[in-house]
């Protein structure tokens, strides 16, 4: 199967391992990954900050860049939600946006399109899962990420109290309302610490930047990794390389 890959600007620049893991995983499952190199940003950051005009420009660009793809997969829940939930409204004023292809978040693609939950991964660690708000409430990915994680060899899924509470990132919110944002992630980090997890994972690098950034500052002793990195690991993976730590 041939899929277009969208790698969010944040992933590309700060967490490239997420994109690489997605490529490894998709190829292992028999997909041909197409990465149009003109891609930059879906426009989400502008859109949530109120810069609708700029967001529309970037959305139109996204639609053009991925024009040749039938299906786009991205390891960023919030970008997938931007394309699916917000592009249609923007397209009312900028018709080029309507040409954006169907865009799925990685776990949706794996479970719904490829029909797999066991991706042959091995990750012998205690793992807590924090769902991105857009995965939970916009895309409604539901238990797909958990079903994938449960099939990973050696992985012990620990319960994370208040898992569905927002981590406090919220795009520009993390800067405009930095104190409240930090108060939110402080509670998140406290609960991760209490869960006994060695690793906390999510389906969006923005949440992981927030949670991982706070864990790092506090020397929290828990790694924040993207779900894709866990699913890409196999028992025979390249020299047992550990998933990249978001220090």
């Amino acid at each position: 199967m041939r899929v277009g890959l969208f790698v969010a600007c944040l992933t590309d620049t700060v967490f490239p391992e997420t994109g690489r893991a997605a490529v490894r995983l998709l190829r292992r499952l028999g997909c041909t990954v197409v990465y149009p190199q003109e891609q930059t940003c879906c426009g989400q950051a502008h859109h949530t900050s109120g810069y609708r005009r700029e967001a529309s420009g970037l959305a139109a660009r996204f639609a053009e860049v991925f024009d040749g793809c039938e299906l786009v997969v991205t390891p960023s829940a919030s970008c997938a939600a931007m394309v699916r939930d917000h592009y249609p409204a923007l397209a009312a004023r900028e018709p080029r946006i309507a040409r954006a292809p169907r865009t799925l978040e990685l776990t949706e693609f794996l479970v719904d399109v490829l029909g797999v939950t066991d991706v042959g991964a091995s990750f012998p660690h205690r793992v807590a899962y924090h769902p991105a708000c857009q995965a939970l409430r916009s895309l409604r990915t539901g238990d797909r990420p958990l079903r994938l994680l449960r099939e990973v060899r050696g992985l012990e899924l620990v319960e994370l109290p208040g898992a569905e509470d927002c981590c406090g990132f919220g795009g520009a919110f993390a800067w405009k309302n930095a104190d409240t944002s930090v108060a939110m992630v402080a509670d998140k980090v406290r609960r991760i610490g209490g869960s006994g997890a060695e690793v906390v994972c999510s389906d969006d690098d923005a949440c992981l930047m927030q949670i991982g950034g706070a864990l790092s500052r506090l020397r929290g002793g828990v790694r924040a990794v993207h779900l894709a990195e866990i699913l890409a690991e196999t028992a025979s993976a390249p020299a047992g390389r550990p998933a990249r730590t978001r220090r």
Partner: protein
């Protein structure tokens, strides 16, 4: 370029220029503090945060249980949303019908354009030397500051609800405390009850008993009673109030004069519509199938109850909100508090930083529409949300609060664009779009960031970012830049790796 000066990109310099704390987004004149600044103080009150979190958890659980107990919650929710949407679409006709039917039932209907006019109308109704006026708990009365208008005219306004007694004793005027902060509320209540003070035990039962005795006295002694309304029913000119304590029930029966002040958005066509709203409200507020007390009246009945019944219909920004297709849905709100109980921002900051009676997610969506977004505080409210979506999911009348907030953000940004000197944030956003619109420019900016970040990083992490970006690193690290970006990996062989 050096790490001391930060990235050399034009927008980075602008970000730095905009980092002066306290200045408005456009360097606006000082006014009431923006949400973020007021939140800083609120967050420092750890006791209040703890009790708010506990109260929100309890209310969330109760409401979730109530929704689960409903046979067809989503169906009820759709009906309730439909009632409110239809009412707002047909507002003019319904208001005229309400006025006609309420007048026929023996009430007098008054109209007020704004808070000041509402205050004058109520003062005129009560007349000089109004004496003791019992004021029920009502967001609209608080929003319009009716108390202040009456006190200026010499009336003695006495709160007739436990929560308002506490709020008044604590001197925080605005919204009533909602179950949280119990220890302080108890102390405040003991102080607020005349003649109770020192001997009163801290036992909640005894406090409630004393409060009940006191409130009965207030309601029975008052010559006039002031209430808000949960709904106005057009078909008969009726007023409906939902409550848990029953103060309005006595307040609407005992005093000689009964004055109800309500926003024009409160009207619904028929009693059958009210039944839908009452059920949706109750499930969302307490989880129970019906409100504990639901009082209704329409006009004066000779020889029984209040002999003078007034309804003051107030605009105060409602027609302005109605004009916006997306924004108007915020006026559907039936004040159940479900959105506040699930909001992670509100749970941490409480009411204070919203600077209004309407707080929480719906306050952030409604207040900027009622008051406009010219002032820095109102302009900051739509941004006081992570857009996590929890509020929109529970709203019993289907208000897509995140969508309204997004709409208002766009409005604030567009207003600021028109400023003679473009705000730094706007210039940065436009430059960022320019960079992102071209792969080569994007790559160049990415490389500039990588070069700078490599110098700034220590031990694999960046602990300090310059300017406005530095708000991130006040309490969070950023990872050092990777050896190469994803696209560099792809072009450097990743496109073929493993094939």
């Amino acid at each position: 370029m050096s790490p001391q000066t930060g990235p050399g990109l034009p927008w980075a310099r602008l970000l730095r220029a905009g980092a002066r704390r306290g200045a408005g987004p456009d360097g606006a004149a000082p006014g009431p503090p923006r949400f973020a600044d007021a939140a800083r103080d609120a967050l420092a009150d750890t006791d209040a945060r703890r009790s708010r979190a506990a109260a929100a958890e309890a209310r969330r659980t109760a409401a979730a249980r109530g929704r689960a107990a409903e046979d067809d919650w989503e169906g009820l929710r759709r009906r309730a949303a439909d009632v409110r949407a239809r009412s707002l679409d047909d507002l003019e006709r319904l208001l005229v019908a309400f006025e006609k039917n309420a007048t026929a039932a023996g009430a007098r209907v008054h109209w007020a354009r704004d808070a000041a006019e509402a205050g004058r109308v109520v003062a005129r109704i009560l007349g000089p030397g109004a004496g003791a006026v019992a004021r029920s708990s009502s967001a609209t009365l608080g929003e319009l500051r009716i108390d202040e208008a009456l006190r200026g005219g010499g009336a003695e306004v006495r709160p007739a609800a436990v929560a308002d007694l506490i709020a008044e004793a604590r001197g925080d005027g605005g919204g009533a405390p909602r179950g949280h902060d119990r220890a302080r509320a108890r102390a405040a209540l003991a102080g607020a009850l005349p003649g109770a003070s020192a001997e009163l035990p801290a036992d909640p039962g005894a406090l409630v008993g004393a409060a009940r005795d006191y409130l009965r006295e207030v309601l029975l002694e008052a010559r006039a009673s002031l209430t808000g309304a949960n709904a106005l029913v057009a078909e008969t000119g009726g007023v409906a109030v939902m409550e848990s304590e029953g103060n309005v029930r006595l307040g609407a029966a005992a005093p000689r004069t009964l004055v109800t002040v309500a926003g024009i958005d409160k009207v619904v066509p028929a009693w059958s519509d009210l039944a839908v709203l009452a059920r949706a409200w109750s499930r969302s507020a307490t989880g129970a199938p019906m409100p504990p007390v639901l009082s209704t009246w329409s006009g004066a009945v000779p020889g029984d109850g209040p002999q003078e019944v007034h309804v003051v219909l107030v605009d105060a920004g409602r027609t302005r909100a109605l004009a916006d297709r997306t924004g108007r849905q915020a006026l559907r709100c039936i004040r159940c508090t479900a959105c506040m109980d699930v909001c992670p921002v509100y749970e941490r900051t409480g009411d204070g930083p919203y600077g209004a009676v309407h707080t929480g997610p719906i306050g952030a969506a409604l207040v900027p529409q009622l008051r406009g977004t010219r002032a820095a505080r109102e302009a900051s409210l739509p941004f006081a949300s992570t857009l996590c979506g929890a509020c929109g999911q529970v709203c019993p009348v289907g208000v897509d609060i995140p969508a309204v907030l997004l709409e208002l953000r766009a409005r604030v940004v567009d207003e600021r664009r028109a400023a003679p000197v473009p705000p730094p944030e706007g210039v940065a956003a436009q430059s960022a779009e320019w960079v992102m619109s071209d792969e080569r420019r994007y790559r160049k900016a990415q490389r500039a960031w990588e070069r700078w970040a490599r110098v700034a990083a220590r031990g694999g992490r960046i602990r300090r970012l310059p300017g406005l970006l530095g708000r991130w690193t006040e309490a969070r690290d950023l990872p050092a830049p990777p050896r190469r970006s994803f696209r560099d990996w792809w072009t450097g062989g990743g496109s073929a790796e493993g094939r």
